[in-house]
């Protein structure tokens, strides 16, 4: 889109007619800019207000949670009471530990398996490449529900039911396709010429990869890994189906939902939202790299 500055640089004398059109366009742009800000702020509020509400409920006293009409921070007392109540409830701390363990195993497995595959689909043309990409995409689009039930059956048969390790295996199956496609697009964003140039200057293929490509793709791969972590951290269906004793945090909150107090629920929801806000902030630069390429 052209900016106002561009127009001012062009110092060519124009007819009155053209100037009028120019003024009209400038005015129109100003109006649309103002309108743009208005829309942006409305959407901003749409996203942020619910988070503000739940944050207010999670970071206040239990009395304020029960109160009606409800207040919001900073107009009500700030207190860690509700959060403490949630964290000290039965199964929450073990749930957090389980969630982090599962997410870390998933992240490591998924990245280790996906990185070479991502490199292959972005750097080589080989017979079956399109078929491979397409089938990975299809797996990516598969409903979790459809996969969870069959895998439960298999895990029961193998006697590794109700274990966080089997859940990690399952989350890896769920996240692997996305991770492959994201890492593929990360590699694709590094021109092959760079690698070739390194080889021309005497690097072995491995050295070229290690010295030139790896430093460039590492942040992108880290972003993909973080996203894998978040997907596993959020996943609730497979986690509740697959575990009974060793529940992850979302599974624990989900399964106690009908018997729990509002203070517990609100604090739990806010607690689960925190990582997503932090992680999106860290990987925001890579969002389009990740999702933009996936769609191509």
């Amino acid at each position: 889109m052209t900016t106002i500055a561009d127009h001012q640089v062009t110092k060519v004398e124009a007819s009155e007619e053209v100037k009028a059109i120019h003024r009209k366009m400038l005015r129109r742009q100003k109006i649309s800019k103002g309108f743009g800000y208005l829309v942006a702020i409305i959407i901003l509020l749409w996203i942020l207000v619910p988070i503000w509400f739940i944050g207010s409920m999670a970071l206040t006293t239990q009395e304020n949670v029960r109160a009606f009409p409800k207040g919001v921070l900073p107009f009500i007392e700030f207190s860690l009471e509700t959060m403490q109540f949630f964290l000290s409830s039965e199964g929450i701390i073990p749930g957090i530990i389980n969630s982090v363990t599962v997410a870390v195993i998933t992240l490591v497995l998924s990245t280790l398996i996906a990185a070479p595959a991502g490199y292959a689909i972005s750097r080589y043309i080989f017979r079956g490449r399109d078929t491979y990409r397409l089938s990975v995409l299809m797996v990516r689009a598969f409903p979790i529900v459809v996969l969870a039930i069959p895998l439960v059956v298999v895990f029961i048969n193998f006697g590794i039911f109700d274990s966080i390790y089997s859940l990690a295996l399952m989350h890896t199956a769920l996240t692997l396709p996305t991770t492959i496609l994201i890492i593929g697009s990360v590699f694709a964003s590094v021109p092959y010429e760079l690698e070739e140039a390194a080889k021309v200057f005497g690097c072995t293929p491995f050295q070229a990869f290690r010295q030139v490509v790896l430093p460039l793709v590492l942040p992108g791969i880290a972003a993909a890994a973080i996203f894998t972590f978040v997907m596993s951290w959020n996943e609730v269906f497979a986690a509740s189906v697959l575990t009974i004793q060793n529940r992850t945090l979302p599974a624990q909150v989900f399964n106690t939902l009908s018997q729990s107090s509002q203070a517990y629920q609100f604090a739990g929801a806010f607690f689960m939202l925190i990582p997503s806000m932090i992680f999106i902030f860290i990987i925001r630069r890579y969002l389009f790299n990740m999702w933009g390429q996936v769609t191509k």
Partner: protein, 465 residues
């Protein structure tokens, strides 16, 4: 896509890419394809549909034929047969115990052989309860052979080694637990050809008269539509189908409109675009359960919506939104929660689609005096079509999985969806087969809608060409 080496020559196959994708292929085959096939067969395959009858009373013998579960059969004979210890733990299994005893026979020789447990009164036991010795029970009644036979094997059809008199001392040297096998005869349907053969007692429920019984469960699988019928006849099935489709139809258009607006805002080069983008993307990584609870805090009776409406003086007392009488409010709450949560992904896809549209095209349109709506209608949307298509497929499939949000907002009973029913069948009813049937239905709808979208775009492209 960047340049790719193509100088490899045509004769030599470069194995490197295959080696690189191999781990992912293996992983997806083991943890995706295989369980998927196995699991989905659960929906149409009954593992216990038919009982196979053996020619002889052992599992190793040939199969005489099979009969469906529930068939009434005549019981012609019975016999004990060795059974692995772990099988005895299994329920419904009729056992016979035989003792291997050593004793003095009628002829005065010392013999060793097998007698049924019922013939021996155990008088001496080891600490762990193993019988060590006892006496032969006397047989009561007239016209009864007073002697007890010793057999070579744990089977009354085997050879008789010797005879014991009543109340003779015996030492017990071995115990054998046998499962009773029945020789049964029955027909597939009334008046049909009868099949006769042996089957273990655990599969057969014997009636009181002991000459007839019923096949309780089978040991051979067969195709069945029972589970599909169970699913369709479930009282939650049609409500779940209806609300899943209703939610899809309402949510997806709203999401696309909102996502395009968000994308245009991001593309408008406003000051603070980076911040806007970050905030717009937050829900991308938000847990669906958490989002469900967030909207619950707004819609619950003592929640924020009532607070605001009362503050504005619109209502006088709190309104109950999330109850069985106000299903439409629950639907509205689910729609808002889903739009809040899942619009970001569409936005990101649309923004990357927009970035691919060259600025010249947009400038040209603007120069020719096209307004925002005209540009959107005639330039941006047509060029965005591939991105929108992908987003549409992704969103439809994800919309079929709405689960935690629904449970958080309605408890999962008042308004229910297909994914919720899958969970209920699996978790509450422990009915894996029906759960698999639901999973298969979700898969089917996903596939059909994906193919539908792909077909639609293709015909449009062909029409354009």
């Amino acid at each position: 896509m960047s340049t790719v080496p193509t100088t490899q020559g045509k004769k030599k196959i470069n194995w490197a890419p295959y080696l690189l994708i191999l781990p992912s292929l293996v992983y997806l085959a083991v943890f995706f394809a295989w369980p998927m096939v196995r699991g989905l067969t659960l929906a149409v395959w009954d593992d216990e549909a038919r009982l196979s009858l053996q020619v002889e009373a052992t599992a190793e013998s040939d199969t005489a034929g099979t009969l469906p579960q529930g068939t009434t059969v005549d019981i012609l004979d019975q016999q004990g047969n060795k059974v692995p210890l772990e099988d005895i733990e299994e329920g419904n299994l009729l056992t016979e115990i035989w003792y291997q005893v050593r004793a003095e026979s009628v002829e005065g020789e010392e013999v060793t052989g097998w007698v049924p447990e019922s013939r021996i009164r155990v008088r001496e036991e080891a600490d762990d309860g193993t019988p060590l010795g006892g006496t032969v029970r006397s047989k009561l009644g007239e016209n009864v052979d007073p002697l007890t036979s010793l057999f070579t094997e744990e089977n009354e059809d085997s050879e008789v080694i010797g005879q014991l008199e009543s109340r003779v001392q015996v030492s017990i040297e071995g115990v054998s637990i046998l499962e009773v096998w029945y020789l049964i005869s029955g027909a597939e349907e009334e008046g049909g050809e009868a099949v006769e053969g042996w089957a273990p007692s655990r599969y057969i429920q014997v009636f009181e008269d002991e000459i007839q019984g019923r096949i309780d469960r089978g040991n051979t699988g067969a195709f069945t539509t029972t589970y599909l019928e169970k699913m369709v006849n479930d009282r939650f099935f049609w409500p779940a189908v209806r609300s899943t489709l209703l939610l899809m139809v309402i949510i997806i258009p709203i999401q696309f409109i909102l996502a395009i607006i968000m994308a245009l805002v991001i593309q408008a080069n406003l000051r603070g675009t980076g911040f806007f983008l970050y905030v717009f993307a937050i829900p991308l990584a938000a847990s669906d359960l958490a989002v469900g609870i967030v909207w619950f805090s707004i819609f619950t009776t003592n929640g924020y919506l009532n607070t605001i409406l009362m503050g504005l003086g619109i209502i006088d007392s709190p309104v109950t939104y999330l109850s069985a009488e106000t299903r439409y409010w629950i639907i509205i709450a689910i729609v808002l929660a889903e739009v809040w949560r899942a619009t970001s992904i569409v936005m990101v896809i649309v923004v990357s689609g927009l970035q691919a549209i060259s600025n010249e095209v947009l400038e040209a349109a603007e120069l020719f005096g096209a307004g925002l709506w005209q540009r959107l209608r005639h330039v941006i949307l047509p060029l965005l079509r591939p991105s929108l298509q992908v987003a549409l497929i992704l969103r439809t499939i994800l919309a079929l999985q709405v689960f935690a949000v629904v449970v958080a907002l309605s408890g999962g009973d008042i308004v229910t969806v297909l994914a919720r029913e899958t969970y209920r069948q699996y978790y509450d009813f422990r009915n894996l087969n029906v759960a698999a049937a639901y999973a298969g239905l979700i898969l089917l709808i996903s596939m059909v809608s994906a193919v539908f979208y792909l077909r639609t775009i293709r015909t449009q492209e062909e029409a354009a060409a």
